[in-house]
Symmetry: C2
Subunit: 188 residues, 2 copies
DNA sequence: TTATTTGCAAATCGTTTGCACCTTA
DNA sequence: TAAGGTGCAAACGATTTGCAAATAA
């Protein structure tokens, strides 16, 4: 439905603050990581890294692959997958899942720790910060002697635009099986 | 910073029953849904439903399939998948994803709206409620004129038991690619 | 009767792996 | 040169779908 594979989700900022690290910083981190791990720097990795850092989206492996191919059509999907893993491992990328089946990646240095609102109609995502949320997490974890390593809050729903434009009966297929399937049946 | 005062009723899963609806209620909801949608009640669906309601876990389709097979080995995987969808659609089941690749289902009536802490070592999950969290969600959504339909907070980390028992260098493979991969490399 | 359901096998989809060949350190 | 990296194709694992036979309404 409203989920063209090649349409990259838009990104909105809730906060003036963006990247705390520049692409140059991140490149250095990546290369340091590669070296420390006894791996090798290659033209492919450099290119994939550059393209990744140049984007501000939540890129799926395929999104990135497409972008990379524009610059070098000989690079394979597999290498993109592997490099994405490597970047995650180096700490400059972070995996996010919006429930559309594919894993997406975003720059890890972007915001201290943000969360997402995901429009189930158009796929638009809004990022936001909440210090209260962080506090709640800390408190709850402490109560259970749980040692949190990461957390993720996702709010699904309709963005402002889709709210106006989408009649209540034309609901998405991405996120709300309950409503969606019931409606599909009802209409049939 | 100020301690969040009212992170109210926290409960750990497997601590007794806190279902607001009884299995009987849920069965009725399911059958009503089936009827309303012009579908048919079958022995398979009844059995799958029973087994699902009898469990208090986060069951994957395969988990449920296994349990169902004990009672009737002729039932196929596909039917379980389809029935799980149906139960979600009817509103008595809810999908949850803990990042292990498979979709899990839990009874929807269980708690008003709870969240999960997921141990990345042993997979143990702790459920909790937070009225503050609900408030934060409402407030943030309003700020963006976003209409939330559902939200999910997941806190990944080590549970109390695994914290004691797990040396820092034996990290899980489920959830923390960054740490895990780096370590795997370091050890090699 | 007749639409729906079932179970099987085959098909998908995103992602990973085996392998022979190429590259970096 | 040796340890790694690359791209392709095949393999994967969870989930879905096509289909002919079975069944509820």
């Amino acid at each position: 439905m409203a989920q063209p594979a090649s349409t990259l989700p838009l990104r909105e900022r809730s906060n003036g603050t963006h990247h705390t690290a520049t692409p140059a910083d991140e490149k250095e981190i990546f290369h340091r990581h590669i070296q420390r791990a006894g791996l090798k720097r290659t033209a492919q990795r450099d290119l994939i890294l550059d393209v990744f850092l140049a984007s501000d989206d939540h890129l799926s492996s395929e999104d990135l692959y497409r972008l990379v191919q524009e610059k070098d059509p000989t690079i394979g999907q597999t290498t993109v997958y592997r490099t994405l893993k490597l970047m995650t491992e180096a700490g400059i990328a972070r995996e996010v899942r919006f429930g559309d089946g594919r894993t997406r990646y975003e720059r890890n240095s972007k915001l201290p720790h943000h969360h997402h609102m995901i429009c189930i109609e158009c796929g638009h995502t809004i990022e936001f910060l909440s210090s209260e949320l962080e506090a709640i997490q800390t408190e709850i974890a402490a109560r259970y002697r749980f040692e949190p390593t990461q957390h993720s809050l996702r709010i699904f729903g309709l963005c402002a635009d889709c709210r106006e434009r989408t009649p209540a009966h034309r609901l998405p297929e991405t996120m709300e099986p309950r409503v969606r399937l019931a409606l599909a049946r009802a209409q049939k």
